[in-house]
Symmetry: C2
Subunit: 349 residues, 2 copies
């Protein structure tokens, strides 16, 4: 009951190695050896220790263990928004890889605020985990991470390159994916294609816009900057943006959206306007195939992304040296009909 009674235990009353040792009638180091699964313990003592452990319900204090050994058996994972299905899947993939190695994952949502995002990262870093996977906020100068990396902690960035830092990075070929989308639409006969670009996450948005223009060029379409509009992934903004696009001379018969949040917002906007248009969206999403018309997407698999990042991180944790690696994964076009719809099929407006 009291804080320091003869029956041992830590502050919360949990048994410690000392208690186990006393009960088993052995020395502290023998218990440590058994608990850590090290060799060099006689069968008899081993049994005695194991018996005491079971009887006492002992389990090792991981903090003391970590303090001593330096390995937390934990990695940190920072994303911008946990509930975004894309990141949720990425998290799941990383967590599953970590589990295989008997490690745990500390996740955190950095959110949209740059200042908050930096505070988050610093908070995670002070935990001295074995490594970090981070989807960084683009406005935060991450140079402060260099101290951590200098201490030997590996950090792998995902989805976009870190600002102010050269580091391991895993992302998809945004340009190629976007160009593929345009090619798909052009193949269906579209000659006037608009790009509705998300405003958050500048890097991916810009890469995909570049890809969009490259795709247009490759398809022999005129370069028409007025066909590229930026929106917040919010329905009303999209309605306005679309109205302007449709009011253009030679208005777009097809749309390319640069991420799934925007794709969904654009679909909602089109519904609201009572319009139907051919549409290809970057990022696949659940139910894309159940909408009418089903939505063609450029899929980048968040699981694959997460696995690649985790694999690289664990290699680094295991001691892999060498220069930073940039892993670029391909995208996959999932044709579902919304893009094949020929220009003259288009109804409405």
């Amino acid at each position: 009951m009291s804080k320091k009674s003869a029956d041992g235990g830590d502050a919360a009353g949990r048994p410690t190695m000392k208690d186990v040792a006393r009960r088993a009638g052995v020395g502290l180091s023998t218990v440590s050896r058994v608990v850590s699964g090290k060799a060099g313990v006689s069968a008899a003592k081993h049994a005695a220790v194991q018996g005491a452990i079971d009887a006492l319900g002992y389990s090792r204090n991981d903090f003391a263990h970590t303090l001593r050994t330096g390995s937390a058996r934990t990695i940190g994972l920072a994303v911008t928004k946990i509930s975004d299905p894309f990141y949720a899947q990425l998290i799941e993939a990383v967590e599953s890889r970590a589990q295989e190695r008997d490690m745990l994952v500390l996740v955190s949502s950095a959110g949209d605020d740059a200042v908050e995002s930096e505070r988050m990262l610093r908070r995670m870093l002070s935990r001295r985990l074995d490594g970090y996977i981070v989807v960084a906020h683009e406005e935060v100068d991450l140079a402060f991470l260099d101290a951590e990396r200098a201490a030997g902690t590996p950090i792998v960035f995902v989805d976009r390159p870190p600002r102010g830092l050269r580091a391991d990075l895993v992302l998809v070929d945004n340009e190629r994916g976007a160009a593929d989308a345009v090619a798909h639409l052009a193949r269906a006969g579209h000659r006037s294609i608009a790009c509705v670009a998300h405003i958050s996450g500048r890097y991916t948005s810009e890469r995909r816009q570049v890809g969009f223009r490259r795709g247009a060029r490759e398809a022999g379409l005129a370069d028409r900057p007025e066909l590229i509009v930026a929106v917040e992934d919010e329905v009303q903004t999209c309605v306005e943006a679309l109205r302007e696009l449709f009011a253009l001379p030679d208005p777009p018969t097809a749309l390319f959206t640069t991420n799934s949040r925007t794709t969904k917002a654009v679909i909602a906007a089109l519904r609201l306007m009572g319009v139907e248009r051919a549409l290809v969206g970057f990022d696949d999403f659940e139910l894309a195939g159940l909408l009418s018309p089903p939505v063609t997407t450029i899929a980048q698999d968040p699981r694959t992304l997460g696995e690649a990042a985790a694999n690289l991180l664990f290699e680094r944790v295991a001691g892999l040296a060498g220069p930073e690696r940039h892993i670029v994964l391909g995208t996959r076009l999932i044709a579902r009909g919304s893009g094949e719809r020929a220009p003259h099929d288009v109804t409405g407006l």
Copy 2:
């Protein structure tokens, strides 16, 4: 460079409090006081210490801190499937609440396997975190958690009651929600309503089936057990189940599904069969309003659930004693048209 050089630092070369103390020309405890923001340090020494901290890039070793103080400033969160949008939102809510308290969250996916699930939990427990929020696998006897609770660690269960344990619990009124769904359909004139129940997560499925029957009774409908079928949330199984339902004498003109995964699978199945039916699904989901017809749902807000659980947990962490609490949250029917569709409107088949 070497492991134990005169310039100090820990094994990884990071400066420790000792280094800061030496550089600032003060004692160890003064540094500790400054770092912990404690009062009783002269302005001069405070400045000296702060200067040394900045110069050295010192940050506190949280493991040592935790070992000493006993508080990890971290909670554990175990769910069955991180990528399920429902849990993803719950996680986000919990993480956000934790952030407010300067705490971090260790998440883990227990998965569908009972054995793996128990191992997961034990692994988290060995971390001695400040508290845990868990969506428990129903087949795991959680009596082993009692030792942890005896040590004073609060555990709050979410979504379903733990097996073999009396504990804090946060969930929704599953019965009432399901009954509401039936009432809504009955109000639209449906007299033959089927319940497509998910097979995973027995507890919620059963409560919602009970609610379904209660709703039918309250609406003055006959109790027809053959109208309740259990499915895996997989399209083909749903197709078969639906075929059987529709082959019944007096076949259902409306469907109630017991969770979102099942709702989606049933929608896909209906599409595949070229059939349309009035439908109300338990659990709201993204794009429910953009499907045709839009899907009416019984929404249980995962964020609210997560917040309630987090609030309760943090109260416990702060020392709240007293008997276990059961918090039951209400559900909300979101009418989107799919339920109002009158029986005679039904097309197809």
